[in-house]
Subunit: 291 residues, 2 copies
């Protein structure tokens, strides 16, 4: 078996192929799905997720699958999650498991081994410090997989802790950024980016450029576009001068696009929303490169 390619090299190649760094969040909630997808909720969310993947795979390089939506249904949900991830992989999509796991020692290693067996990357918490990241880093480095560490989240209450000012002048989120930059510095691909990326919410516009300076080697996974209120123009500071270094995530505004357009089959509305997001971001990045 050949040595696995570095995660960031695979990711950048997929972005190049599809035309823009867009990631669609697969967060299926039973109550919001089109009718007729299954008798049981867990069956409906699996069928919906697979149909969404089929619809968007042509247009986007990556998907982020929310574990909670599946874990809601316990072992049956976990089995469905595995099948959804396999479907995404078979469609050539890079799959990020949005798990936000955070534990230490053998427990962290267990989470890493289980989740990275299926997905290409996983989101991880940071509150427990560097020894909660190391077991994930070891397994990801060996297997050619990636991680995205929670640095600055897009929810309103993220500020309660993340915005607090430290005695040394940094905010808490900046201290976490420094910790992540340091922990990831030995795991870079040929692109120069580290397999340890960072979750940075799109709604924190005024902080994105400063976090980019603190984490030059981290690929930013940026949730909060669309339904959470941020616009694409807000997050341009997360890209470097060549237009690399971020992966923009939209979920509800794409996977529920049929809510506001009942004039075509639902999966076509989803595909259209994904393509539109891809085209808009590609154009914004091209205009920025040329200016």
């Amino acid at each position: 078996m050949p040595m696995p390619e570095h995660f960031t090299d695979r990711l950048l190649e997929a972005i190049e192929t599809k035309g823009a760094p867009v990631c669609i969040g697969i967060d299926p909630v039973a109550e919001r799905l089109p009718k007729g997808l299954g008798v049981e909720p867990v069956e409906a969310i699996e069928n919906f997720s697979c149909a969404v993947l089929d619809a968007i795979a042509e247009f986007v390089p990556a998907v982020k699958v929310q574990l909670a939506c599946f874990e809601r249904y316990r072992a049956a949900g976990y089995a469905a999650f595995d099948r959804v991830v396999r479907r995404a992989a078979s469609l050539g999509l890079i799959v990020i498991a949005d798990a936000k796991r955070n534990d230490i020692a053998i427990s962290a290693a267990h989470y890493a081994a289980g989740l990275l067996e299926a997905a290409d990357a996983v989101t991880v918490g940071t509150y427990l410090g560097r020894d909660s990241l190391e077991p994930f880093l070891n397994i990801a480095a060996t297997e050619g997989k990636g991680l995205f560490a929670l640095v600055r989240t897009s929810n309103p209450d993220g500020d309660a802790l993340q915005s607090l000012q430290l005695a040394d002048g940094r905010r808490v989120s900046e201290a976490v950024a420094d910790l992540v930059a340091d922990a990831g510095c030995l795991c870079r691909g040929t692109s120069g980016f580290s397999l340890l990326g960072a979750v940075v919410g799109a709604t924190k516009v005024e902080e994105i450029a400063s976090l980019r300076r603190r984490m030059p080697q981290q690929i930013f996974l940026i949730p909060g576009i669309g339904a959470q209120g941020a616009a694409l123009g807000d997050i341009l500071g997360s890209f470097d001068e060549s237009g690399h270094g971020a992966l923009v995530t939209a979920s509800r505004s794409v996977i529920y696009a049929f809510d506001s357009s009942d004039k075509c089959p639902w999966a076509r509305a989803v595909a259209g929303a994904a393509r539109l997001l891809r085209d808009e971001l590609a154009e914004l990045l091209a205009r920025r490169r040329d200016s």
Copy 2:
């Protein structure tokens, strides 16, 4: 169906019955188990966990089951976790799912619904702020269940973030303690304790009394006894004057007690270690009450 009793009232009653606030951590790792428990690792950890539960149920009020050890084996592991939790419940044990989940909105609600369907309580992260706790609080309050929020962890690197000094003089962990105290203040049982407890590592001896003052209504879940190096005497500051308010957790020093004693069947060594811990803590608390 009668209204569910408040979680902390049930917990305090169980502690009273068994004689001391001891919780055993069920963190089974396939490589450390006695031989002959199963062909597949997931079968062996399930059989081991159930045998440990049978051995200790007479002596302790509660167990904390580590999700990571089961999730390592994906859907099969999740199914095994559910059976282990049911076994613990059938033995009259209070079951805490050690999941450390942290997400927002519907994702947090999904985690809460899934995990609290099985267990009596669940550990949750705090980095995402109060809106990551609310969905858990809502479901726990309705169902008579409990939560333990990560405030101060027992691992050495927890200091990297949790010990940082804020501009207002508090440490980061103290700011999180204030957030937890505030979020939990409306959810108290007849005992006065909130269904929202706090994880406070036993290894952070010098901080325990100060965190107790900041969180008078939180039951502390205290890992780090035994294998992680802390002694029972170190954590007396986490109890209030009547000897209430904390649940002391030991894992490896109890569930692998047979490592250092091959003179009796392994399950008897485990039972003996649990009973010894219970007796030691009961004696310490009685001596403190009488002094």
